[in-house]
């Protein structure tokens, strides 16, 4: 049987972290009474007009720069028409002709063979990033055969990040999205929490034989976590391979991922191929961005967005942070990968290192093996840790000064997890875990043990 090459591309919608919406002044907030965060424009009442939010543009520029894109100094807004109850205007304002950023790349790491010891770096091309409006939310009430519509989300700013089909499996797709999530969170352009719908991913999947043209692709939606993304992509690849090997064909359709069954199913409400009748948004002129060279002399600062100014103020991206950790502390790349993968763990590690004499290379073991595994077992975040960096550093100092053994240290840590407020030193004293340094005292103890077990000693001496 000829081998199959799976091809995976992604369309990711990230909700912009801003106070107000993309084209109106209503608040952006996750949970709020229905239709309380809706302006007349969001409800598409006649006579209202879009007014672009500066912060949303800055968020898109930051993200474009972080993903090595070319920022288009002139980008345009368009209308994408379709009918749905949660899209009151009957169209979405998006950037179809000329988006704000194009031609970037994202590098991400993968572990080979599930072992943390070998990591490989891959790259996926970013086709473009565009600004667009989010739609409202539909709650389907099947019992009463109706849909309830909440427009709180309608008009919230989105960045759509389009990743080229450079990925080949669920693991790669998941790793790429995880890295994007970390980048967005570092920039602050999106909080990218998938569970709150701030990061939504659609996967485009197809398979083909080497040397042949790309196969028909399907679009997979309704993926609610990074874990499910990997599952959905891998399932769809398998499904397509089996279908084709059985002589079937793949339909160019949209499928939904069913997380309970772990499979993809065709989506019902898609009637044939959509014709979105794209047209320029007549109420918005082109978006013009400037850089240090093209900065106009006489314009109001508030009306000018300077790409270079934003570039200079970009924070260290995760990849740079990881390298710095490796360089500064002599830890392994796999270690810094894990440090950045858990929210707050890198800061915790650095805090402990500052407060202890123990070498970072030894501290990292306690962080990754003891602290992290405990947190995982009890489903706690670093912030919720009952053991603070101060307490852990205190404990490691006792170990470093050889006042206790490594085994004893683990015992103390187990006690510290209870969060009863005792210091490491108090626990050591309570449980008599101090290492004896005095030679004479040690001899006395050993002699006492031997004296107390006369029979056993005789047995041993006799062989």
């Amino acid at each position: 049987l000829a081998p199959w090459i799976p091809v995976v591309g992604l369309e990711i919608h990230a909700q912009i972290s801003s106070n107000s919406k993309l084209f109106s002044g209503s608040r952006v907030q996750f949970a709020a009474p229905p239709n309380s965060l809706v302006s007349f424009f969001d409800a598409s009442l006649p006579g209202t007009l879009p007014v672009l939010n500066r912060r949303c543009v800055e968020a898109a520029v930051m993200t474009g720069l972080a993903l090595n894109c070319s920022i288009n100094k002139k980008s345009l807004f368009d209308r994408k028409h379709y009918f749905y109850a949660d899209l009151p205007a009957g169209y979405q304002i998006t950037q179809q002709r000329v988006p704000i950023a194009v031609n970037g790349s994202l590098s991400y790491s993968l572990c080979i063979d599930n072992k943390m010891s070998q990591m490989v770096t891959k790259t996926v091309r970013i086709k473009q990033i565009q600004l667009e409006q989010d739609s409202g939310k539909s709650l389907h009430d099947d019992t009463r055969c109706q849909t309830l519509v909440d427009l709180n989300r309608a008009g919230v700013g989105l960045m759509e990040v389009v990743m080229e089909p450079d990925m080949c499996c669920g693991e790669e797709a998941a790793a790429a999205v995880r890295e994007l999530q970390l980048i967005l969170q570092t920039l602050g352009s999106s909080q990218a929490v998938m569970a709150e719908g701030q990061l939504r991913v659609d996967a485009n999947v197809s398979v083909h034989h080497p040397g042949e043209p790309y196969g028909v692709r399907t679009e997979v939606k309704n993926i609610n976590s990074i874990r499910f993304l990997a599952k959905a992509v891998d399932y769809e690849i398998q499904r397509q391979i089996e279908e084709l090997e059985n002589g079937g064909t793949i339909l160019n359709e949209t499928r939904a991922f069913d997380s309970k069954l772990g499979c993809t199913v065709p989506m019902r409400d898609k009637e044939g191929k959509q014709d979105y009748r794209f047209m320029p948004e007549p109420n918005l002129p082109p978006l013009i961005l400037y850089d240090a060279k093209s900065l106009p002399a006489n314009m109001n600062h508030q009306q000018v967005i300077n790409i270079d100014w934003i570039h200079e103020r970009l924070p260290d991206l995760p990849s740079v942070k990881r390298e710095k950790l490796v360089e500064q502390y002599g830890i392994l790349p796999e270690h810094s990968f894990t440090l950045l993968n858990e929210d707050g763990l890198a800061e915790f590690f650095e805090s402990v290192v500052k407060q202890t004499q123990m070498k970072p290379k030894k501290v990292i073991g306690w962080i990754l093996n003891d602290l992290l595994s405990y947190l995982k077992q009890h489903s706690l975040t670093v912030k919720e840790s009952p053991v603070s960096s101060f307490l852990l550093a205190d404990l490691l100092n006792l170990l470093e000064k050889k006042e206790i053994s490594s085994t004893a240290a683990k015992q103390v840590l187990a006690e510290l997890w209870k969060g009863e407020g005792k210091t490491p030193l108090e626990i050591v004293k309570d449980q008599k875990l101090e290492l004896l340094q005095d030679q004479k005292e040690l001899e006395q103890i050993c002699q006492a043990v031997i004296d107390g077990q006369e029979n056993e000693v005789i047995m041993m001496v006799l062989g």
């Binding site: 106070n19 002044g25 409800a43 028409h81």
Partner: protein, 109 residues
């Protein structure tokens, strides 16, 4: 060059317009002919114009402040049906009846 029945049906689906009778279709026909005159001008190498104001049409950037919203009651006054504070809509898009079942012009073409 007449507009085909397939295109008319496609337009009715997309835009939910109803051409209703042969006069309506004629009107569309004439509108297309009128617009087609644009093709007589050679626009090779010319950038499309966004506005006659050209560079003077500046996109206004708003500060990221919350200035609107909180008018649920007013918005719901427009709703034919509501449940608590939600708008009520049919369960999905109601598909346009098939060509044969429609009452207007395109039926029977």
């Amino acid at each position: 060059q007449k507009v085909s029945v397939e295109v008319l049906d496609h337009l009715e689906h997309l835009a939910l317009v109803d051409f209703r009778d042969w006069e309506g279709v004629e009107r569309l026909q004439k509108a297309i002919q009128f617009a087609d005159q644009l093709h007589e001008v050679n626009t090779d190498g010319v950038e499309p114009m966004d506005s006659v104001l050209e560079d003077r049409w500046c996109l206004y950037l708003r500060e990221d402040d919350v200035t609107e919203g909180n008018c649920t009651k007013e918005l719901l006054e427009n709703a034919r049906e509501k449940v608590e504070e939600y708008f009520v809509a049919p369960p999905g898009n109601i598909p346009l009846p098939k060509l044969e079942e429609r009452e207007t012009f395109l039926q029977g073409s």
